[in-house]
């Protein structure tokens, strides 16, 4: 009897470790690094998540040739943050699916490969989690092909900017024009956009379309995006309007509904002069540009 109890106790102690070793072995055979698999198995077991379940999405990512350490890190993060096991697994599985979709999009883009493929997949998967669709990414890829030296890093950074704007309530479809323009710029320009949007809103900016228009115009004309926020509250829309001509030769703020007319007195409005003398529109625009009348409210 004593011997049987001892055997049962031994089995109870050894069985979980053996099960964990099996799960780790399966993951390693799928292509997961031994160290990663062992760490996830140990820590998931400590926090109420079965090692088999925890390692499944990591092994699945490895089998698909994806960076499975990203999925492993997301699981460890959830465990460390005390998320419920079901939530951790759902997040990990969702990440694995988005990584696969991102990988397929980059592979079919016919663009030079990203500088850091692992980072690019993480960024693109993150963008997709916020509603940036396959169609939107393909539109960005098409825009990058139109640019000299267009590359996947710029596409990924632009997609990530759209995702971050979506997280702030801006639908990706609304920001797609800005995204296309950003594919012609270095990735750093795109990475500034969410912070600038936050800063603009903190300054009291409300007209999101005006922000997107001005940022797009700056991106298209090669201007710095940093100056887009009017920190001093001089303009009603809290934007510092770019005065460089855009690709059609028109002066940025004179075009569209968020133009030079905002914040100007009746005598300063260029449309009054434009209407009075047919055919002089271009000259008036040029004059407005030369004198800087387009900046709303600026003396």
């Amino acid at each position: 009897m004593k011997r049987r109890l001892a055997a049962l106790a031994f089995a109870a102690l050894v069985a979980p470790a053996a099960g964990r070793a099996d799960a780790v072995g399966d993951a390693v055979r799928a292509g997961v690094a031994q160290q990663v698999a062992a760490d996830v198995a140990a820590r998931s077991g400590e926090r109420g998540l079965s090692p088999d379940d925890a390692l499944a999405p990591i092994a699945a990512a490895a089998k698909r040739g994806l960076p499975s350490d990203l999925v492993a890190a997301k699981i460890l993060e959830g465990l460390a943050k005390g998320a419920p096991p079901a939530r951790v697994l759902a997040v990990a599985r969702g990440l694995e699916e988005r990584l696969a979709a991102a990988d397929a999009l980059l592979a079919s883009s016919n663009l030079p490969p990203p500088a850091d493929e692992r980072a690019a997949l993480a960024d693109l998967a993150d963008a997709m989690s916020h509603g940036v669709t396959k169609d939107a990414v393909e539109a960005l890829v098409a825009a990058a092909h139109e640019a000299r030296g267009g590359n996947s890093d710029s596409v990924v950074a632009a997609a990530h900017a759209l995702g971050e704007l979506a997280r702030r309530g801006v639908p990706p479809a609304d920001a797609l024009g800005l995204g296309r323009a950003l594919t012609h710029r270095a990735p750093e320009a795109s990475r500034k956009v969410p912070g600038l949007f936050d800063a603009w809103r903190a300054e009291g900016g409300k007209d999101t379309e005006a922000f997107l228009d001005e940022a797009r115009r700056r991106a298209e004309s090669g201007q710095k995006l940093d100056g887009v926020v009017d920190w001093f509250g001089d303009s009603p829309d809290r934007l510092t309007h770019d005065r460089k001509p855009d690709k059609d030769g028109l002066v940025g703020s004179d075009v569209g509904r968020h133009g030079a007319q905002e914040g100007l007195g009746p005598g300063e409005r260029s449309d009054a002069a434009r209407g009075a003398v047919p055919g002089l529109d271009d000259a008036v625009r040029g004059n407005a540009s030369a004198h800087g009348h387009g900046h709303p409210g600026r003396p």
Binding site: G31, V32, A33, Q35, V36, A38, D39, A42, A62, G65, L66, P67, S68, D69, A72, A73, K74, L76, E77, G78, L79, A80, K81, A83, R87, V91, G94, L95, P112, P113, P114, A115, D116, E117, R118, A119, L121, A122, D123, D126, S129, H130, G149, N151, E164, R167, R191, P194, G195, W231, F232, G233, D234
Partner: protein, 143 residues
């Protein structure tokens, strides 16, 4: 005019106070620095396997240098004050949704790049056009 002066004064005051936190390259790796009152501060993230790594007190700040290979890392500070530990993501950092109802900061450690002759296209020396290989998470412990 008054608003402009006030804004300038606020900007100057902020500049004098210095950032609450910063991350920058240092001789021994990437330096994480937290410079606000706290009893203890840790760094946690992809690079530590999400295990808190305590920072050392240096004067009025907390610092930790981590040797990080080039890559993209999600991370945040854990700040303990009066027995209460809270996550802190520097407001000026690039931030992403963590999927668990919070946010992480993103750190990008640049790698060496090479220029493809005649194209001007830059690509990392370690670029792998074929498949990705697994990378062990730095700082992860084996049981």
């Amino acid at each position: 005019m008054v608003k402009r002066v006030l804004a300038t004064v606020a900007l100057a005051a902020t500049a004098c106070a210095g950032p609450a936190a910063e991350v920058r390259p240092a001789p021994r790796g990437t330096l994480f620095r937290y410079a606000r009152p706290a009893d203890a501060v840790s760094v946690t993230g992809d690079m530590t396997g999400w295990e808190p790594r305590p920072m050392a007190r240096r004067g009025g700040a907390f610092e930790l240098a981590l040797p990080l290979p080039p890559g993209r890392y999600e991370w945040r500070f854990l700040v303990t004050r009066s027995g209460d530990t809270r996550p802190f993501v520097p407001p000026e950092a690039e931030r992403v949704d963590d999927g668990y109802g919070g946010e992480n900061a993103v750190l990008r450690v640049p790698g060496p790049v090479s220029v493809t002759p005649g194209t001007g296209v830059t690509a990392p020396e370690a670029a792998r056009p074929d498949r990705l290989k697994d990378r062990a998470l730095p700082g992860m412990k084996t049981p």
